[in-house]
Amino acid sequence: MNTLETNSNRRALSPIFATLIILAIVTVLFIPVFIWSTGLTAETKSFWHISGEIATERIVIEEVNLRGGIPKCTIYVRNIGKTAITVDDVFISSPDGSLNIYGKADFTADPDSVVQGDLTTITISDLGSFVPLGNVTYTIKVFTSRGVGDTYQVVA
């Protein structure tokens, strides 16, 4: 009778140790789940954050100085959104459909980054092979680093 009781009471591990092992296993198993879920959360948060920044990024081209025969251009861009902006690209399209693209290396922005309400002056000191013709309407497009832009039509 004693033998039987002893056999039935025999445990491979103490309950505390067993609980600790289970906890450890659960924790180890949860680590990838946790990493995956926090990554997902961070990505989602980042997505909403960027979406919010793009949504609140807004620029206005106030004036453009582009004259016929003069191979340079000055563009006055105001940030009217909540997000600070940096101008990355300027497109000048002609009525015949030809497009002239100027990257960050082709112009100077003063200041480089502007906050809400401030003005940045984009100066393209050399338009390259493109020389604007007088009394022709050109479309100027300015894009920020996040792809937000504005359009302005000017008669050179």
Binding site: A42, T44, R78
Partner: protein, 329 residues
């Protein structure tokens, strides 16, 4: 005993599953909170941007004035009016002429450029900006709303029309009437002016005045001479009974042709005496003021010819209504 052990084992399993559940719940809640926070943050910024757009749509500024320096060579001040429904802040002044567009200044750097709705602000400009009548001056606000106007229009106002309304010069046609040179005088039965009576201002005449003549003053403002004929009349029309109209016919200055010449740019008096168009035979009777107490409209009708520059004549007719009525007292 076995049953007791089994119960213990079950309790242990419940404990572990509770911990796991807690883990999962915590994880789930933290993820959800994170996601919701990000989403609400996004919503918040969208609302903020919508507010900016809404405010921008309420903005409107108008350039209303421009002052030049004492030498009239450079721009001195520009006046802006807030015609919108929200306070604005002026952040840029540009000048665009035929060759270039230049940012003149950001006035907010040296003065408070906030303008309340309905208010105006005088913004002083930095010296040395030359005044060019055909150049445009452009003002922009912090929200990117612009207004532009020609400098000449702002400085000197819009061009005045050649013809301006002047109640003393109410005319449409080549003869301009001088309303303040308008008289009447008693005549005899044969139509001659009574030498004992002076000319009276024509705006009121006593009732039952009897035979009278009217004298008006006109100027030929056409570039052609005009000859008016004997059918030209001075018509008095009572307001209450227009059918009792009384005409006074022209007393011609040329008694042979029964006409009167009105030379270019010359002021002439025209006399109206007769009840009928003047006849060469001289049998006409003068018109008599017979109207009772009343207020009358007056119309001048002219008939005649223009003397064209090539020597020919073309017909001429004109009606001049008086600005005010004459009164028979």
């Amino acid at each position: 005993m076995k049953r007791l052990n089994a119960q213990k084992s079950l309790r242990c399993r419940r404990g572990v599953s509770t911990l796991t559940s807690l883990f999962l719940i915590l994880l789930m809640f933290s993820i959800l909170i994170g996601l919701f926070l990000a989403f609400f943050d996004y919503n918040f910024v969208i609302m903020e941007q919508m507010k900016i757009e809404d405010e921008r749509s309420q903005e409107r500024i108008v350039l209303s004035g421009l002052k030049l320096d004492p030498n009239q060579t450079c721009l001195s001040n520009v006046t802006l009016k807030n015609a919108g429904t929200i306070e604005v802040r002026v952040r840029a002044i540009y000048v665009a002429d035929g060759t270039t567009t230049v940012l003149i200044c950001d006035p907010s750097e040296y003065m408070d450029t906030h303008i309340s709705p309905g208010r105006s602000l005088n913004i002083s400009l930095p010296g040395g900006v030359p005044f060019e009548p055909e150049a445009k001056i452009i003002a922009a606000t912090e929200r990117g709303v612009k207004t532009k106007e020609y400098e000449a229009l702002l400085a000197f106002g819009p061009p005045k029309p050649v013809w301006e309304y002047d109640p003393t010069k109410l005319y449409i046609g080549p003869l301009m009437l001088q309303f303040d040179a308008f008289w009447y005088r008693k005549t005899r039965e044969d139509g001659t002016l009574d030498p004992n009576e002076p000319w009276h201002p024509g705006w009121s005449i006593p009732k039952g005045f009897g035979y009278c003549a009217w004298n008006i003053t006109v100027m030929n403002i056409d570039d052609r001479n005009i000859t008016i004929n004997r059918f030209s009349t001075f018509n008095v029309v009572p307001n209450d009974s227009p059918s009792n109209e009384l005409p006074w016919y022209l007393e011609p200055t040329n008694q042979t042709s029964l006409t009167q010449l009105l030379p270019v740019n010359q002021t002439r008096n025209i006399l109206y005496i007769w009840a009928d168009p003047k006849e060469a035979s001289g049998t006409n009777r003068p018109q008599k003021m017979t109207l009772p107490e009343c207020t009358c409209m007056v119309f001048l009708t002219f008939f005649g010819v223009f003397h064209e520059h090539d020597g020919t004549t073309t017909t001429y007719a004109q009606t001049i209504p008086f600005e005010a009525a004459i009164t028979v007292e």
